[in-house]
């Protein structure tokens, strides 16, 4: 299962990476490298573009053509690059703050343009690099350094947003389902047009700590707890009528939308 070799695609001299213990982002990178390998992508014609944030740091560890840009703007660089040299496979890695707050406008326009890019948005519901501020994906009630009393705003459903904006391929994966990521990412890359993948990842260091969600292992379990079918099953169940807290919002994974570009 792990038979697909990915280590030769790593800039080994850059490791260990700067991400915190238990951060799920590394799982995504591994899946991305496996997916790229399974597609037999021409490594000289594949460019990985990222913005600013923990997730965007991932490109630095890929032994390939990598571009670490400014906060929120990775998609703009990617758009220019892809249009200037269409033979390139351009894959963007962004985060929730990077891709939905400061870069939200670029995301919806990239989706609307349907340029043949693949965008992985790693959603850990927080600004990790800056110390755990509320991201636009943080659920109402989420504790962060900027929402000490709990977030009061509604959160983005990034996939719904991408669909509405016109992306021709929209999928959601989770770090707790790493092998599913391989397939989703590979399909996203293979898709002609703008492919958007939201990947539930975890920030144990800030979001997990502030919201008492545990560390990496528990946060991975929490993701699976949130899986649509699990969530629906548990919500439908009779309890003893006690004061059990409401669970987190459900997480629907898989390809959510696909149309020819």
């Amino acid at each position: 299962m792990t038979g697909i070799e990915y280590r030769d695609r790593l800039r080994r001299q850059m490791l260990p990476h700067i991400l915190c213990p238990g951060c799920g982002h590394g799982i995504v990178l591994k899946a991305l490298l496996r997916a790229a390998r399974s597609l037999e992508l021409d490594w000289d014609r594949t460019v990985f573009v990222a913005g600013i944030g923990c997730s965007s740091r991932l490109v630095g560890y890929i032994d390939g053509c990598t571009l670490h840009t400014t906060h929120g703007r990775a998609l703009t660089f990617a758009t220019g690059m892809k249009l200037a040299r269409p033979e390139l496979t351009v894959i963007v890695i962004t985060g929730d703050g990077d891709g939905l707050a400061i870069g939200g406008n670029h995301l919806i326009h990239a989706a609307r343009r349907d340029v043949d890019l693949t965008c992985l948005l790693l959603n850990n519901e927080t600004y990790g690099m800056t110390g755990g501020q509320a991201a636009p994906t943080a659920e109402p009630g989420a504790i962060s350094t900027t929402t000490p009393g709990g977030a009061r705003e509604r959160s983005f459903d990034a996939c719904a947003l991408a669909v509405a904006a016109g992306a021709s391929f929209v999928a959601r994966g989770a770090t707790s389902l790493p092998l599913e990521l391989d397939g989703l990412i590979a399909r996203g890359i293979a898709h002609r047009g703008f492919s958007f993948l939201e990947i539930a990842s975890d920030c144990p260091e800030y979001f997990g700590r502030y919201n008492q969600l545990g560390r990496g292992p528990e946060m991975l379990q929490l993701q699976r707890r949130r899986l649509d079918e699990v969530d629906r099953t548990l919500r439908a169940k009779r309890s003893l009528g006690s004061r059990r807290a409401e669970g987190p919002p459900p997480l629907r994974t898989g390809v959510l939308h696909e149309r020819p570009a």
Binding site: M1, S176, L177, P178, L179, E180, G183, L184, Q212, L213, G214, P217, E218, M219, L220, Q221, L222, R224, R225, L227, E229, V230, R232, T233, L234, A236, K237, R238, S239, L240, G241, S242, R243, R244, A245, G247, T253, G254, V255
Partner: protein, 605 residues
């Protein structure tokens, strides 16, 4: 034999049902108890037999409360029955011992159901000694018919001698069904309370007087025992005489149909003259009894040379084979060639398991992963001590978990977190005082209360957290979290034990905090009182990577599939037993576990 020839007066009853029947025939008015195998079905049968609600029946919060209620009822003038398993009598014994002093007014019958062989118990104590210790009469039925008869007799003896009576059964009596002749139930008499402080107020001055009354009563009872119809002499072949009681009698009768037998129904006080007389008529006397040499030692003390435990095991349940073997050893039966029994080919062991969907599994998975020292308690969850969960380190007695955890914590021997795991029913039974102890003495401790809303181990009886009575009537449900907080717990987090992450998190948080932290898991038992059978899950075979992480749950519904993945066995869920708890789906790293109606068929990935 005519195929329609039905015996009109006899019905097939278990020993427990027969006790309930006897109590009804004796006009019992109040019946209490705490569930405990093999005693549980007595009160349940009693409720079934009493649609008109003539009898007040309750599951008490523990055996001590049960016997107090029953004693109160008895001195209030109503015949009362209290039922428990053998170890329950330890809990009730504080009252039991002194009730022998106060006496009763209306009949009070205490049923102790012993468990030789420890089919579902933590020890094998022989409660016949407790009757002797307390100085109360002891009755031992040997089958269902006698269970009925002796129950009726017990009430009469209780009233005649103004004493509680201990009716002692065993698993083999309680759970075996046999034909019983039944009579109609009698409506309870309500005699009314009569004030009698010297009798009921056991201040030392009064108690000293009652001690004398007790001894006098015992003397009278000893006299009664000599002539009681509950003792039966069956004379036959005089070369060997057997003194026996309870189930052992049946095995003896079968192995030695011709022998002379003194079958004792009232075994405390012992009928010394009757025994001497019987022994004098036979050439050799064997005592055949289960467990300890209770009869044997006392008969020896009478100066009679009897043999018993030389030939019969002191540990474990007797059976027709072991009794026959003992008798053969004793030379009482001919050394016949035993029938050539089949050899059993190697079989796979089948230890008891937590049920599919049991809400107790996940908390123990978490505790194992936290490396906690777990003091356990009495309930289904004790099974978490065995593979694959292997997450319990002690189990002694009802409510022991919390006190023992305090001790382990204070011993300095635990570098790991210490967690007391206790069921909701057990917590109500005997956990609360220990929690108070932990709080008031400032112990850092985590208490995991496994709240499934029922007494699951014994088959789903109501308890204070259920919100209903033994008759199914709604009642006030004790709010465990509020209770614990009121007792001074620093926190009392209620979690869904089907939520793997939340459960782990709550426990991890609790063990890291100071003071007494309580985690309460909240899911109903899947078996009782309501069978939970939600949409079962299925494994999408092509997604299964055969990591077998799900098998660590020990869920009986998860089995190997024929298919292989990289040489390892894929898994499959038995849809006929899966309750749809969704726990395995939260472990599965490939989302292979899906509801059967879900995407199992139309896999779009």
């Amino acid at each position: 034999m005519s195929s329609t020839g039905e015996s009109s007066s006899s019905v097939l009853l278990s020993g427990n049902e027969a006790i309930a029947q006897g109590a009804r025939e004796a006009g019992v008015g109040v019946a209490t108890g705490y569930p405990g195998t093999p005693s549980t079905e007595i009160l349940e049968a009693l409720v079934r037999s009493d649609p008109d609600r003539d009898v007040y029946v309750e599951w008490s919060s523990n055996e001590k409360v049960a016997i107090d209620v029953a004693l109160g009822a008895a001195i209030g003038g109503t015949r009362a029955l209290v039922t428990m398993k053998h170890v329950g009598l330890n809990v009730a014994s504080d009252t039991f011992m002194t009730a022998a002093y106060t006496g009763v007014r209306a009949g009070l019958v205490v049923v102790s159901a012993d468990d030789p062989g420890m089919h579902s118990s933590q020890n094998e104590q022989d409660n016949r000694f407790v009757a002797r210790f307390a100085g109360v009469p002891l009755l031992e039925p040997s089958d269902s018919a006698e269970a009925r008869d002796l129950t009726v007799a017990a009430f009469e003896i209780a009233e005649r001698f103004d004493t509680p009576v201990l009716l002692r059964t065993t698993t083999r009596i309680a759970h075996a069904r046999a034909l019983v002749s039944v009579r109609p139930a009698r409506r309870p008499d309500r005699g009314g309370f009569r004030r009698d402080r010297p009798k009921y107020v056991m201040l030392p001055g009064f108690a000293r007087q009652r001690r004398i009354v007790l001894l006098d009563r015992l003397a009278a009872l000893a006299e009664y025992a000599e002539t009681s119809p509950l003792q039966r002499v069956e004379l036959g072949d005089l070369s060997v005489g057997v003194i026996t009681s309870s189930i052992a009698y049946q095995y003896v009768r079968e192995a030695l149909p011709e022998a002379s037998v003194l079958k004792l129904g009232l075994t405390h006080p012992l009928p010394a003259r009757l025994i001497r007389d019987f022994c004098s008529r036979v050439e050799r006397v064997l005592v055949v009894e289960e467990l300890d040499p209770y009869l044997e030692d006392q008969i020896r003390a009478l100066g009679i040379a009897v043999e018993g435990k030389r030939f019969f095991a002191r540990a474990g349940e007797l059976g027709p084979d072991s009794v026959r073997a003992g008798l053969r050893l004793a030379g009482a039966v001919a050394e016949t060639a035993a029938p050539a029994a089949q050899q059993s080919p190697p079989t796979t062991p089948r230890p008891p398991l937590l049920c599919p969907g049991c809400p107790h599994v996940v908390p123990f998975l978490a505790l194992r992963q936290l490396g906690a020292v777990v003091t356990g308690d009495i309930g289904c969850y004790t099974l978490a001590a065995s593979a694959p969960l292997e997450a319990m380190d002690s189990c002694v007695a009802m409510g022991s978990s919390i006190g023992m955890a305090i001790g382990v914590r204070r011993s300095g021997g635990a570098s790991a977190p210490v967690v007391a795991a206790i069921g909701d029913s057990t917590f109500m039974h005997a956990g609360i005082p220990a929690l108070v102890d932990a709080v008031t003495n400032g112990t850092d401790l985590t208490v995991l209360i496994l709240d499934n809303g029922t007494t699951a181990m014994t088959g789903g009886q109501a308890q204070p957290g259920t919100g209903s009575t033994i008759r199914g009537d709604p009642s006030t449900r004790i709010d465990l979290a509020a209770l614990c907080l009121a007792l001074g717990a620093r926190s009392a987090e209620v979690v869904d034990p089907y939520d793997v992450a939340a459960t782990h998190r709550a426990l991890e948080k609790a063990v890291a905090s100071s003071g007494v932290s309580v985690v309460i898991t909240d899911r109903p038992c899947v078996e009782a009182p309501v069978k939970v059978r939600d949409t079962p899950f299925a494994v999408v075979a092509e997604r299964c990577i055969a990591c077998q992480l799900c098998m660590n749950l020990g869920c009986p519904s998860i089995v190997w599939d024929g298919g292989l993945y990289e040489g390892r066995r894929r898994v499959r869920i038995d849809a006929s037993t899966c309750t749809g708890c969704a726990v395995c789906a939260q472990l599965c790293p490939t989302e292979a576990m899906v509801p059967l109606t879900g995407t199992a068929a139309g896999d779009g990935r």
